[in-house]
Symmetry: D2
Subunit: 411 residues, 4 copies
């Protein structure tokens, strides 16, 4: 008798194929779930493979548009970034993948969901906290945290042996000396030779972008138009093309960034579970969008809104996503203010893309009156009287003078 139905997040690779078979071996009915978030993968081949090795069913879901619109663009609005550098490319894809998995589990009557994440990483947390928040009574099978599984498969070799024994087809490629995980927003490289933080990543590791040294010698110039902080149009001045559909536009920015060597980073970051790890990432289109959005906010966002948003919303949003808490009361709590902050972020930004650089060349907004050329002019006596500044400074100095009277830091 079956122990129940499991919906397994399946990639078609060695690990999740072995897990699929192992789960069947444990007495479960296993269904495979593949989320298309833009990673490079042969979904049809994987489907055939899953069915071949025993899956009762396979569900392939194209989540790219909801990923772009619900996760990526709001993260652009939030200027989301983790530890000053990382654009959260892996983290952002997890909520949409986990949500659809739960939806299908419910629809298909699966009491269990399963995944192939390791027990040391962030992704196990991101998937499972999403599962539990969306369906508190779901049961999760995480083989890499089950002693009888991880002790049976202490390394790649034991998985290969199991695959051979169970007739699991294995693509005969030499494994790269690092792990990768990709989606429409980015690709990550970690583990293997990258574990030495002082080892420079090999030149041929980077998959998405050309090396800036190999990028074209001629810059490309584009304009990005934003409405309420969301990109709605990209115009390429070099070739005159324009893109407006959310997914297409984003894919096009990826194309532009990839050929101009834009979006590589290499960091040591702090995982949620308190371990430091080294990761290399490419986030091509996202890097352009971030630069453009930040620039447009300079023109269209009130100073205090910006300051408060930077201090509260940006890090909170970023940490919640990094730590797998997109489905949480606190994200629901901050989202309305994030949205409110972007009401005025309308306009366009001119950019030059050149060998790894995203260079701002100008910006304008037809709706925002916050920038006032006359008022900011040093040459024109407009807007307010210089005498006002006198009073402003005197009032601001009251407190400092009191302090200065006893101040240790005497000149």
């Amino acid at each position: 008798m079956s122990k129940g139905r499991v919906l397994l997040a399946y990639s078609g690779g060695l690990d999740t194929s072995c897990i699929l078979v192992w789960l069947i071996e444990q007495g479960y009915d296993v269904f495979a779930y593949m989320a298309n978030v833009g990673q490079e993968e042969d979904f049809e081949a994987a489907k055939v493979k899953a069915l071949t090795i025993g899956a009762k069913g396979v569900f392939i879901e194209d989540l790219r548009k909801e990923y772009v619109e619900e996760l990526i663009f709001p993260s652009v609005q939030a200027n989301a970034i983790y530890e000053n550098v990382y654009l959260l490319g892996t983290s952002l894809a997890r909520p949409v993948i986990a949500r659809r998995q739960i939806q299908i589990a419910i629809r298909e009557g699966c009491q269990f969901v399963s995944h192939g994440c390791t027990g040391k990483g962030n992704d196990q947390v991101r998937f499972e906290l999403a599962y539990y928040a969306l369906k508190p009574d779901i049961k999760v099978i995480s083989p890499w945290r089950i002693p009888e599984f991880y002790e049976r498969f202490p390394g790649r070799q034991s998985l290969l042996e199991y695959a051979a024994q169970k007739n699991i087809p294995v693509v005969q490629t030499t494994k790269a000396p690092w792990s990768t995980d990709g989606n429409i927003y980015h690709i990550s490289y970690e583990a293997g030779v990258l574990e030495d933080p002082n080892a420079t990543p090999p030149r041929d590791m980077w998959q998405l972008t050309v090396d800036p040294e190999d990028a074209p010698d001629t810059p490309e110039r584009i304009t990005i138009i934003f409405e309420k902080g969301v990109p709605v149009k990209v115009h390429n001045h070099n070739d005159g093309t324009t893109h407006t559909d959310s997914l297409e536009l984003f894919l096009y920015l990826n194309t532009l960034a990839r050929r101009n060597g834009i979006g590589r980073i290499d960091i040591v970051e702090n995982r949620y579970i308190g371990i430091k790890s080294r990761g290399c990432y490419e986030t091509p289109g996202g890097t352009i969008l971030r630069a453009a959005h930040i620039d447009l906010e300079g023109l269209t966002l009130d100073r205090e809104v910006r300051r408060l948003r930077d201090q509260f919303i940006t890090p909170t949003w970023s940490n919640l996503l990094y730590n797998g808490q997109y489905f949480s009361p606190e994200l629901q709590f901050i989202r309305p203010s994030l949205i409110a902050s972007q009401e005025s972020v309308n306009g366009e930004v001119k950019l030059k893309l050149y060998k790894g650089n995203v260079i701002i060349e100008g910006r304008k907004s037809d709706t925002s009156k916050l920038y006032d050329m006359e008022e900011s002019s040093m040459d024109v006596q407009g807007g307010f009287s210089p005498v006002d500044s006198e009073g402003f400074i005197r009032i601001q100095s009251i407190r400092l003078k009191k302090w200065g009277i006893d101040n240790a830091e005497k000149p």
Copy 2:
């Protein structure tokens, strides 16, 4: 009879020369003060000019080393940045300039200090809040906020006429269509043709750095060594040179960055007085240092220290500097924790400089044990049991499950 002694912050240019003479005209004894913070200026010529037009004395002060050590390096430690982009190059120089001015004013018995800042900008605030904090009873003369001065000199032409009439020597250069202000850390461009935020800065505006397009085709590789978050050595792998003195090292980083097209930005920012203005800046060496320092913190700083520092110290330090409140109780309050945060930031970072890019190629630390290659490894079962993650996730999910029970955001 004299109205008293004024110590005027003097640049040798048209504005402050006219102010010098105007102050004499008003009945003051005027002394000129020139702070060398690394700007390109002929101090000796300016001195002669000041004396020629009536200054009772001239004081030229080399503040470059204290500027680097007291302001620039701590700002590197703080990862200081304003509105996501601006490295605070003008702001950082103000405290050392103002402090020496007050010191000399006290020494020379000047009851007044004066400066040539306009009534719309940040610098008037920065200078004067520093003056008042350091010497609460100082009297400040700010001609550009005195109606009888600014009404008499409504534009450059009236200053030129005044100069002609008063025998103030004027260098016959055509004025650039923007204003600049430089120091060892950066140069700024604003006003004039830059007031249209959509106008791309002319190619020949940038003075410090080469255009990335004109930078060498071959990257340069360097290593920067930090102790407690402060750079103490720069080694160039291409030519084998090494620099260790704080000022020299910083000048050398400037040289490297300038020839590789590093450090340009163009933003619309929010001034302290609530006006938006457009500025272009070059911060060559500072841009390299910021990237390297942030990277090393990834390796050597505890996650929670980093998070708290990022949320509290970085924006507070940056805003205080931007708004002219370096000499303030609140900066004295945050400084001890800034220093404490850097205790563990020891190690070195390998960098590649190439056409505007600062590319991290590796980092290491001999002292920090926070990064643990075995523990972070996905392949090795080291450090802790995967079963621990199970409990961690279950506990983290308790709160989210409760919320999920009523959560509107049903899957």
Copy 3:
């Protein structure tokens, strides 16, 4: 010919009566505006007086309900407090007063608004920033900042002389040795004998509440019911009465608090302009509401929502109100998240009122499932396995162990 129409915020007292006449003297047509925000005042007598001394018209507006619903209740939701102690009673009334003044000014074609605030206090800022935000081109006449006014009236005696000369009726009361300002939410006492921060306020100063020593020896017990953080019902268990209308309910809480000696404070606070000043305040009903609301949040608010709200919304809301920036982009920015935070704050709180104390005696919520008696029980093995805590602690300790290896703070 008239210089234009002025709408003066008028109280009927000596100061604003003199201002009214002085404005007429300066050539303005003056209209008087009286906002009823619950202060004890004879509005009709003041109206007669205003007309008698030359006002072209008088507008009396009952703003109590909008004050309670738009300012007081949201401040309860925000747990608003300034410098740990002050419930912002004066600040909260300003936005509704200023807004109606601007509305009437527009309706009546007044180019000017005016008020009787001094040049050292917070209220001038609060009124005027509201004016300017709501009608950027409004012109403000602030007599106490106009040299020809304040030099003419250096003290109360000169105002009395002016009143006598101009036939302004003066009520012959001896002036209290302090200033007061009241509204439905609170009353303030400051200046005069209170300026010595070490002087204990005289027993007979306090107007709203009885001294706790004189309050009844028998406690009163009430229950307050909240919906989305807003009080919607108050039930008195001693006498069985119930109130549900927002204004009535709030007035009733005032009554209860006043007779039980609840809501007095005495502080030295920091004004917006950087001066410290001493104030004594009574906020009777507000003190009860704050205690009850905070308690109910313990039961119904998620931990992380609470933490983030406490750190970001509470101080931001409080400071914005204190500093007169209710009508501002940043308040618009934070309000949606404030509202979102209160979605789950539904339930009731039992309270005992006794001689200055507000004592919580219990709370419940029919809707929130966040509190789970079984799960929190130390005696019951419910909800999760103790073994989970093992993993949780082990994971939390990873980072601390790394730090402990080098930690200076050795045991």
Copy 4:
């Protein structure tokens, strides 16, 4: 052969006595450790009991003074509070207890430490994170999280049976229908009948303080003197007594508060592990100190230091203590700024204690010049010109006017 030496945190009660014997049964050599942090306990009787039932040694440590000076007073300086209400009484004692336990474990060659905390509470986390931070390789035995222990002892009855069987002396008291935990700073009550959050705590539960209704009808007046934010003297005006020693002074404040019914609270709080629980607490002396310290800061602390401290240090310090992370890099990081914030907090506060109320009656400081009676006076034209406020307000309004032009919130 022994499995090794265990140092058990021992209370003399049923639970830890059973644990002691059970550990011996498991093959350990067990040493008992009792920390005197001011709880009411017969340490000598407990020592005899421990030895009787098999302990190889007993260590009783008086930690009261280091507890007061290292944890309580800094928490007063920080105005530490958890979720607006809880003064952290249990949390604060944990670091000193855990540290001494580790010190003794090292000295006595114990490889293991053990405690009797449950698997659902905060204390297990607080003890163990401290253990691991101070001695990363320590081994912890937490019986209430070990299935073979907690399954063997599912309730009090099974412990009593075990005690009978093992000749563990049991004091024949009827167990209170709640748990308590006390130290010099506070006592807690939770669990049992208190688990219904709507149940009013029984009158006879409260052990430390008299009911405010039973407190004296005559107030007591005292003055507390602070140096750098730390109380250094308490003077009772009623009886003329004075206390200056840190421990004595604190004990005396407890005495005062207890007889005047001060320091009771009743809350539902969020535990670190994400569970809500209800707790009742008495923090007598701490409640007085908090009120006095906050008041003195009004007089002596700069506004911006206070604002930043309130937003960053207070909640961070409080959360770290609550969550058991006193020994952590982040606490080391914030401590220097906490200390710096208190430099100016020197002076005295007059207080009236009356039936649960702590009423401020005045404060003064001989050293701080921040409060300036003349400057704050509404009556005196001192310190600065009202015209300065004009400029201040105009500058502050620039930003708001721009926003007002498009503002949706039209009057």
